[in-house]
Amino acid sequence: MESNMNIPISPEQKKAKPKRNPFHREANVSGWLFVSPMVLGFLVLLLGPLLLAFYMSLTDWPLLGEPTFVGMDNYKAIFSDEEFWTVVGNTFTFAAGLVPLNIALALGLALLLVRKLPGIGIFRTAIFVPVMTSLIVWAIVWKYLFATDTGFINQILQLFGITGPAWLYNPQLAMPVVIVTSVLKNVGLNMVLFIAALQQVPVHLYEAARIDGAGRARQFFQITVPMISPTIFLTTLLTIIGSLKVFGQIYVMTQGGPGDSTKVLVYYIWEKAFKNFEFGYASALAFVLFFIIFVFTLLQWQYRKRWVFHEE
């Protein structure tokens, strides 16, 4: 519309203009008015804090007293911080354990549940219930199930004459326990997404394959997997991002211990920021987390074309 401003206006356009212009002005005014609460909130509560966080990461910012600008010192300190590398290692161990287990189990269950058999809805409900439950409650109950003396799991083992280990107090076992607990908590979510995707696969593809003599395995790898690959891609990406941000179950079940064996990145950030009140260092750590998530997302998108069959 603006480009019309300097062009000599013909009589017809002159006529049309008062009709059009108020409409556009009205659209601009009401449009901005309608989005203004969200946009203001975004500026004050997201963009502002994001910029401030970056500035904070360049400072030594104590709870009380004046912050001092230190440039890249926090970032340099992070890279020579031994605990940081342990924590990053733990975070990747958690993700590497959780993601394949979660995706494989979710897909396997979805394949079983997509068949229209009587009473199958009950199983879907049962597997979905943990997703609904508060993560904190779930972690508390599993901490109890894995308790050394009173825990259900060790009591069951005892029935078979096995003395169960001190699961959550053993540096080798604590992480696997947290991983299993986390998989069980959220596998229902990916499962439901997979079921929805599987239901979209046209039946005639399978019929055609069967006529051509393709077996079950062949059908799975050459029809099912390619057809639901966008969903596999999405769930994998989201599960990776979620696992890199794990916190609640660690807080409840192990507090990062025993030793540092389950201390993950977000737990470390929380500890530095809100236990030690090293806001500058914690902000730099948070940006490292942001960077890791960003890189993973980018890599996934890069590889997306290679293994995702069709795009919307």
């Binding site: 804090p49 609904m132 109890y144 308790a147 916190f247």
Partner: protein, 281 residues
């Protein structure tokens, strides 16, 4: 029904067995939680474990209610989640409508800008937010727990969901109303919003559950016990109660049961709503 080969029947049987085992693993925590919540403290150590406790001890529940401000935890979680949900649905649907239907200048740019920030982890912004809230005197109040989700990533996600829904509604309806001289607000409020009921239902469940289960923000912003939400109170309870599992489990049952009951009555909506969590994170 056509006859099934023995192989097929075996396959179906295996299907059921596998699903039963997995479902059982999922349900054991709940059964064990319920069972322990009704046990006498001494019976917790009894071997072999009793699944159905005898005698049943309901005092575990009354003791938790008497010794902790459990009703306050409940109330805090509930009213915060309700306010967050109302705020999110309202502001997200207004903005979502504008992004879908009002051709204002800069619309696409603003929308992209909003969407791009959804990837920022909460942990990055929560540190300056803590200082910001401290300056405003909102530490140890419910204000950040209500305001931040409405205008934060959760709210922006809501805008996205509502926009997608409004894009799917035929334009003719709106044009007719415009010709009749309806204002944008009237169109949004009396025509579009009532049509958006399915999207609003999904967004409501998603937002309510996210707020109800939130842990990180209450942990950062709250200190006083009376102000705590259920997840935070329960997590601290773990430290204090130590091995008083009977109390811990009855508290967990009380925190979990109401939502599960609602879930069983509105499963379809819940599964849709919760599935959106996956899309957001």
């Amino acid at each position: 029904m056509k006859n099934k080969s023995p192989g097929k029947i075996l396959g179906i049987g295996l299907n059921y067995v596998t699903l039963s085992v997995v479902s059982l693993i999922m349900l054991v925590p709940f059964l064990w939680m319920l069972s322990t919540s009704l046990k006498e403290p001494a019976k917790i150590f009894v071997f072999p474990p009793e699944l159905i406790p005898s005698p049943i001890r309901l005092e575990n529940y009354t003791e938790v209610l008497a010794n902790t401000p459990f009703h306050l935890f409940y109330w805090n979680s509930l009213y915060i989640a309700i306010l967050v949900t109302i705020g999110t649905v309202l502001f997200a649907s207004i903005a979502g409508y504008a992004f879908a239907r009002i051709p204002f200048k800069g619309r696409n740019l603003v929308f992209l800008l909003l969407l791009s920030t959804m990837m920022i982890p909460n942990e990055v912004t929560s540190i300056p937010m803590f200082l910001f809230m401290r300056v405003l005197g909102f530490i140890n109040t419910h204000v950040p727990l209500i305001v931040l989700p409405i205008f934060g990533a959760g709210g922006i996600f809501g805008v996205f969901v509502m926009r997608q829904f409004f894009l799917g509604i035929p334009k003719e309806l709106e044009e007719a109303a415009m010709i009749d001289g309806c204002s944008r607000w009237r169109i949004y409020w009396s025509i579009m919003l009532p049509l958006a009921k399915p999207a609003i239902a999904t967004l409501t469940i998603f937002t309510f559950l996210t707020s109800w289960n939130d842990f990180y923000d209450p942990l950062i912003f709250l200190n006083d016990r009376e102000l705590m939400t259920l997840p935070l109170a329960l997590s601290l309870f773990t430290d204090e109660a130590g091995t008083a599992w009977h109390h811990l489990m009855s508290a967990s049952v009380m925190a979990t049961l109401p939502l599960l009951i609602v879930f069983f009555f509105a499963q379809k909506q819940f599964i849709e709503g919760v599935s959106m969590t996956g899309m957001k994170d």
